[in-house]
Symmetry: C2
DNA sequence: ACGCAAAGTATACAAGTGTCTACCTTCAGT
DNA sequence: ACTGAAGGTAGACACTTGTATACTTTGCGT
């Protein structure tokens, strides 16, 4: 029987038990008003119920731990995050009939629904994995250059997925260049992530923030469409 | 003669010399890969050339120091930041002739120029005050809730200025609601600030980032205009 | 059955930390 | 001229931290 353990705790994978415990401890300590680079290695070991020196068996440094933690979180979120977008697209499939208001060749109603569903599912997901998002955003603009860069890469990965989906699902007018699409995807991704922190730390504004996120995406998208159209009419 | 000291060093104001030295020390230590909350009070005093206990004469806590630092930076940036936008508007004044491509009643060429000039001046300003922006962005999503909130307020202040200027300079179509305008201003402000960190830490991409910032603002603005127009055509 | 590497533990040490109490200096207000 | 507060210093306290060396346990390949 190959391990019927269905608990998908964040740092789950094939790490040695001590290593996993340390990673989980770091995640636990970070969420509650700490930054990764401010954690002490002894504190970490204490929280994990291990001897301080065990830390050295697995990591050379706290930055090292941070790096593996971030990469682990990254690979753990990437799949679900993408699945969620396709789920949203599936839900909005019924809206694909013709003769419906269009903006430069794009079915606005459908786009709007896809955006709506995606945003809703995204924040539902944030609610399920708050710690991952908290440390992700904290360190994206945090003190350690290494972690910043790692997170930048992870998020650009998410953005790349989004770009592919936008293309496949035909959510933006043809004519938008690849590079522009890339920029837009990155902006949306970054913005969603950073909103996630406000979302988590201001429960009273959660509904409002979800709506703002939707509007922001729609603005960016239609703005990009308009500008691209205007550009090709010469200027 | 009322103090002809023209050096506008960041924590300048009417603070006692020791207090000022501590604030400046904090700013110095933070920029180079540290977060405010990870600073030690002894370390701080050492950097400032003072006795550790002097810290207690002025602050109760490191968070306390962080708070006054942030508020000080905020009031020091607010004026110049606003002046800079009006300077940009002045430069773009020549473009105000009629019969020129318009989008829903807005002179696109002029808007584009105002945005261009503003963004350029903004990043020039970032180049002049890197430390202020670095700690500002770091702590906006950093570990301490108190600092996060303080920074959120400071940045909303900047956004409020921007909103007024947009209104006064007629950069957006009439018909955009006040609340929407507020949201847009906040998004632009936040985005500019967070880009500032990437800008500072990636000198090779500075030109590219300036351009991206411009496009982002234009997208948001024209997107907002389009959506608002579409909305009032019923939907 | 042996050996060896990986994972984890125990003890120790120098250095740094936050905080306390007590003392000294400066200087404006009366 | 005296007082008292504000700013700054000195020394000491208990504690935590990162790191080093040395030891034990566990489990797998041969």
């Amino acid at each position: 029987m190959p391990s019927s353990d269905t608990s998908l705790e964040s740092p789950a994978s094939e790490f040695a038990p001590g290593k996993r415990q340390l990673l989980q401890a770091a995640l636990r300590l970070c969420c509650d008003s700490r930054s990764l680079s401010s954690l002490g290695l002894r504190e970490l070991a204490r929280e994990a119920g291990l001897n301080p020196n065990t830390f050295y068996r697995h990591f050379s440094d706290i930055d090292d731990l941070g790096l593996t933690l971030i990469r682990d979180i990254g690979t753990q979120l990437r799949g679900p995050l993408r699945a969620l977008r396709q789920q949203a697209a599936a839900r909005a499939k019924g809206d694909n009939k013709l003769s419906v208001p269009r903006l430069f060749g794009i079915n606005l109603i459908r786009s709007r629904r896809v955006v709506h569903e995606t945003v809703q599912l995204f924040f539902d997901f944030v609610d399920q994995q708050p710690e991952a998002f908290i440390v992700g955003i904290r360190e994206r603009y945090g003190a350690s250059p290494a972690l910043r860069q790692a997170l930048s890469e992870v998020m650009n990965g998410f953005a790349a997925d989004m770009r592919e989906d936008i293309r496949d699902l035909k959510l933006m007018p043809t004519g938008i260049s690849d590079s522009q699409l890339a920029v837009i995807s990155e902006q949306i991704t970054h913005h969603l992530f950073q909103m996630a922190l406000d979302y988590l730390s201001t429960p009273a504004r959660q509904h409002e923030l979800r709506q703002q996120a939707e509007e922001h995406i729609l603005m960016l998208a239609s703005g990009a469409a308009v500008l691209q159209r205007l550009g090709q009419l010469r200027l």
